[in-house]
């Protein structure tokens, strides 16, 4: 297989998944809506004291993003599993890990990117400093793809199961902790005027690690789930 055809397959799969998502436009907004709803609940639960919300804002936004990302994971492989096209994705001359990467990228464009776009609005809701909103978006840009990539491993392990819901959160959330820690920490540090390059580099290296390491276990797990 030449390199050219591999990138062609990658793009074809990406295009197919985006097209399918576009034909289900109504579902596109579900994770987004969930994200906004959870963030809205916090001021109602803790009281709308500005100082309190301000200090908690990075944590609230990131935890909500984490949960929204987790809830949307199921759509990565579910429909392909149900209609049998997942088998075809495994049984061809192309390395499954690359195809997995294309699917995860499509999934992130559909679910992760919108979170990033709406986040500044929510940051304003919670009274986050305007100076750090850019940084918040940057942490989401670096962090949410990691969530999708790690989530793909877990969802690949559970895609064959009828009820994977709670199990999925148990499998996924502990692995999300490092991203949560460094992303929120970066924003908090920036709020008190400290440098955050270290945190950003660490998030970037998480992303690189996840891109290179997770496609293999995902591919292996898909094969297991189909056998």
């Amino acid at each position: 297989m030449s390199q050219g055809s591999l990138s062609r397959v990658f793009l074809a799969l990406l295009k197919r998944d985006l097209l399918l998502a576009f034909r289900h436009r109504a579902e596109l907004f579900n994770p987004l809506l969930f994200f906004v709803l959870v963030v809205t609940l916090f001021p109602l639960g803790t009281g709308a004291e500005t100082r309190l919300l301000q200090t908690m804002a990075p944590g609230i936004i990131w935890v909500a993003a984490l949960l929204a990302a987790m809830l949307s994971l199921d759509t990565i492989f579910r429909s392909d599993f149900e209609d049998g096209s997942l088998e075809l994705l495994l049984l061809n001359a192309h390395p499954t890990s690359i195809l997995v990467l294309a699917k995860v990228l499509a999934h992130w464009l559909i679910t992760g990117l919108p979170l990033m776009i709406i986040a500044p609005l929510l940051a304003l809701f919670l009274g986050l400093d305007q100076d750090v909103i850019g940084l918040l978006v940057l942490t989401l840009l670096l962090g949410t793809p990691v969530l999708s990539l790690i989530g793909a491993v877990a969802i690949a392990l559970t895609v064959g199961l009828k009820r994977g819901g709670i199990l999925l959160s148990l499998l996924v959330l502990p692995f999300y902790v490092p991203v949560l820690i460094f992303a929120t920490n970066a924003i908090e540090m920036a709020m008190s005027g400290m440098p955050v390059t270290a945190q950003l580099w660490i998030l970037a290296s998480f992303l690189l690690l996840a891109i290179t390491l997770t496609p293999w276990p995902t591919a292996a797990a898909l094969k297991l789930s189909l056998s």
Partner: protein, 212 residues
């Protein structure tokens, strides 16, 4: 010349031994008909042969042989084998929200490919007038035909078909038999299961019975 060699294959599912010591030698131009009752492990066998499922024991080897050289590879975990094999399972593998043509375009980009055009194969499976329809608007039989059109586009040497006649009408069955014959004629290999009785030249057909 291609051939598939199966040695001492056994399979256990949910603690039950489905079959053991299965040996097969299948050469170019031959069809393997797998027979057996429900639950005898036909589907499991096909899934092992196409490389999705790991066998409990035994080996499956894909042998390519030309005039001067011979190469054999173990089936499991080899992408080069998966490219030369096309699988049709119980599920059609079509995306319901894509049109017939979009489905085929995508499967073509996955496969090794051959010279057949999408228009050609749609004509051969009798879907030429449905090319821009979404698959969700097709009947079960038409969806099965679309899945078969995918095989014709794949350019694979080996077809592994699990109940290919499901949901097809008489014409459809005749069409599939015709295409299988053509595939064998070209030197391809076919492995299939079927509840229907099939009419093929006896000298091409090898039967394997899984019932004890």
């Amino acid at each position: 010349m291609m051939s598939l060699e199966v040695r001492d294959l056994s399979c256990i599912r949910d603690d039950r031994i489905l079959f053991s010591d299965v040996n097969i030698n299948l050469f170019s131009g031959q069809l393997l008909l797998v027979e057996g009752d429900n639950g005898s492990g036909k589907t499991s066998l096909l899934r092992i042969l196409c490389g999705i499922r790991l066998p409990e024991q035994g080996q499956v080897t894909w042998v390519r042989q030309s005039d001067d050289q011979k190469s054999s590879i173990a089936v499991h975990g080899q992408e080069s084998y998966a490219g030369e094999m096309a699988f049709l399972g119980h599920l059609d593998g079509n995306k319901l929200d894509l049109s017939v043509t979009e489905n085929l375009e995508f499967s073509r980009s996955l496969a090794l490919g051959n010279n057949n055009t999408i228009k050609d194969v749609l004509e051969r499976v009798g879907l030429e007038h449905f090319d821009d329809l979404q698959v969700s608007n097709l009947s079960a039989g038409q969806r099965r035909r679309l899945a078969l059109a995918r095989l014709l586009l794949s350019g694979a040497y080996l077809w592994i078909l699990d109940e290919p006649f499901t949901a097809l009408d008489k014409k459809g069955i005749a069409m599939v038999e015709r295409e299988i014959n053509a595939q064998l004629e070209q030197g391809g290999l076919v492995i299939m299961t079927s509840h229907h009785s099939v009419s093929f030249d006896n000298d091409k057909v090898i039967k394997l019975s899984l019932s004890q």
